[in-house]
Symmetry: C3
Subunit: 350 residues, 3 copies
């Protein structure tokens, strides 16, 4: 299957670099190695030597070069083999590996799979809140054995929280929910509103009076290919001017292969910012919500769908799927544009 | 591969319902969910929601409905979606899942895969002895990684007991065995007779004088697609009027997929009926005979045969294969009839 | 993929026979059973009964026959079914399994996959040192999940020792290495020389003065399809007449399937011949060098290459690949000859 090339893909959190200083993951079927140059800036090259194709992460970093662990060829950040450890041995011109534009932002490393010339940092989705010094964040990661679009369906149809995460996010206002979708360029927002309801247990600490009824609005912002930001806001009933709380989290999904994806999550808070105990509570909840609830559901769904595209099975669609459908269509449009651009040379003669 | 549709397939023992009241298994590549209505009668529907295709067994039973655990659609026993948890939300007509005729008999649940109109309880193979109040039964189950027909070959050629179960069922009369096959409609009986031999250790308790020579006859009754009943009878030598003992057991095999099957076994006895110690002895023997002896042999056979039909490898056939061959031919005929019936419209014009 | 048929393939070390006296392995996709006749000579037949295709190693040896563990057919060393355990039951002529020429040599069992008439013990690669009574050997085995040719590439390009086994075999003379290839018939020798260098830690005990500089020469002898012998020699600098030490080891690789191989290794020494402690030191080193260093590299390489031939990915080739390339070409030539011979009948009319 085709993956969006001209887009930023998050490869991992910066604190995932290992003892060697390496982070290696397969992104959209391409093996990637990330490391830091001596000046601290990140570099990203293919995690596969040009000589015998072993993963470069089995080697070592030597200065600014990556030395293959099998026969010692050394590659620079541009992917060029610049050293053969045998004196005087020629280096074939073909000895190079793909290099990727890479930026370090929002606590993570992001690479651009497509044409490096078109890599534009301005196209990064905005997760500035993750590095806001006035906020605390707790990051997590889970490899999830489902197509990345199933994970995005999950996020763009938040009615699932009533059933999958019901015991702490469920609401008696559920039958009265309102669902809205808004598109700005290629960014799609879905809003799920629980009007005039009790405060779900999960948000009890965010309000002064947990027994007061509120309007609860979940906003999911999607940016291609599969990056979501969730903002949950509590309001006085029928008064959007009186916001009671706002909670932000990141749900960044990166395709690994057709049927597996990397799911990066991060919860941010503006209270108890340097409180390890508060961190631990978030971590416990992330384990339950993501690892024990979302992940088994998504993986069971993938097994049930099998090795086909879910849309080919003609799923019954509901009103609450409006956001998910819009997202899938937008993504399909972007993918088709990329495929068409490859087929049609840009500099066609008149 | 094609599986017989117009036949009853055992899905599980009734005591296999879990804490939620669910039994879910894949039968002939179809995911099935079994549960009981509030009046106690069983229902069987596809274990795959029509909306996002997650397994329904991850949901809950609410009254007589099954509520999907992902977004809360509710299905009735006929497979129709009859409730969307969002007030006023329409339910698309296509929101239904396959429902199956299901009967509870002989301690198990049986479904009919084919046309519900043709589901006939009279076509159930007879295992009445399993629920005879004067008998005790010990049930078991093992998922076996082989084509279901290999398991049936095992049962219809009982010469294997001399080698696979030799230490307790072997007989010095083995070289003198007689093999017979009888067919009544689509039911096939094979008889394996050990004439004038010592009582095998396994049957020592069933006779008053374990040193007396007997005629031992194994009868296997096969009903399509893969249901066997084994009756072992001891006789005075050369006198079929004088039966010394009769022991019955069920060996019910249900295809899960092309290369895996559900093997349900049940041993019945008419002595020590309420004796948990006797139950345990049977259970111990079932573990040895089925799980430690038959299952490894069948799975090794499947690995050795590989991803082809065993008959395509042109096995050498022996006289003792007569029953197995008759069974395979009969089953192939039934399967071909079903395929032909699908291709030929019933209401052909003259 | 095609495997070389007219060649000896090592199946296992003789001490790998199990409690039943069986050694069973899949060689070039063929399941093989090795056992000893009552006179001690080895026999090799297909590990798959002609009747129901279960592996014969699940049965028993009865005298000089192998009795199938499923229904008791007995096969002789020529693969013929010579006994049906049922009195008077005919034995179909087709009831035979493939038998293989087998020799016991160098502490192992070797079979000939191709035409038995062409099996020539003289074609066995020479590993006489392994059974030299003046030497001690320590054998090992690892199933390695890579194509057997990747394992041979590893052996024919020993520059990898500088990086994979650097901490005990690395040398400061590495940048000055010389690489040579010599071919004698279908046997190919590669020589890797570390001139005028310190003695690597691994060879420190083999020289009287570990601080003296030496010329170190690794000779790898390859015989088709994938049998290597490594001889490491230390010399006075620039004086090939003055050999300081010579260490021999066997690296015998046998294809199991397209993407897995059996890797048999054996280190031989001429000191401390009956010293179990010295044996243990070798065993410890083999675990590190083979199991913890070579095997993970080879298996990572295979995963990285994927389900294609590495040459189809157009690897960048270096001067130090000369031996590996010569070996691959020679093997490809032999394989092509076998394929051509099959296609062209020998007794063509004029």
């Amino acid at each position: 299957m085709a993956f969006l090339q001209n887009a930023w893909h998050m490869v991992g959190w910066t604190n995932e670099l290992n003892d060697k200083g390496f982070l290696h993951r397969t992104i959209a079927n391409e093996p990637i190695l990330i490391y830091r140059l001596q000046d601290g800036t990140p570099a990203a090259i293919a995690d596969r030597c040009a000589h015998r194709f072993v993963p470069l992460h089995l080697g070592e970093q030597v200065g600014d070069l990556i030395q293959c662990g099998y026969h010692g060829l050394c590659f620079d950040k541009a992917g060029h083999c610049v050293k053969n450890p045998v004196d005087g041995a020629p280096i074939p011109k073909a000895a190079k590996v793909k290099a990727y534009p890479v930026v370090e932002r929002f606590g993570g490393f992001w690479i651009w799979l497509g044409d490096p010339a078109s890599a534009d940092e301005g196209a990064l989705p905005d997760y500035e809140f993750l590095t806001d010094p006035k906020r605390a964040t707790v990051q997590g990661y889970m490899l999830t054995k489902c197509n990345y679009q199933l994970a995005i369906d999950n996020l763009t149809d938040l009615t699932h929280i009533q059933f999958v995460h019901g015991e702490y996010q469920g609401s008696e206002a559920f039958p009265r929910i309102k669902n809205e979708v808004k598109q700005v360029g290629n960014t799609i927002y879905t809003y799920l509103t629980f009007p005039n309801g009790k405060v779900p247990m999960f948000y009890a600490n965010a309000v002064s009076d947990p027994n007061k009824l509120i309007d609860l609005v979940y906003e999911v912002r999607w940016d291609p290919p599969s990056n979501a930001k969730l903002t949950v806001r509590g309001y006085e009933v029928n008064d959007r001017e009186k916001m009671l709380f706002e909670i932000q989290s990141a749900h960044i999904v990166t395709a690994e292969s057709e049927f597996t994806c990397h799911y990066f999550f991060c919860n941010s808070r503006d209270y108890a910012v340097n409180d390890p105990e508060a961190d631990q509570k978030v971590r416990d909840w992330q384990r339950i919500g993501f690892v024990e609830q979302d992940k088994p559901m998504l993986e069971a769904q993938q097994r049930s769908v099998g090795s086909v595209d879910i849309m080919d099975l003609r799923p019954v669609l509901l009103g609450t799927d409006a956001g998910a459908i819009r997202v899938r269509r937008t993504l399909a449009g972007l993918l088709n544009n990329e495929i068409a651009a490859k087929e049609t040379p840009v500099s066609a003669t008149v």
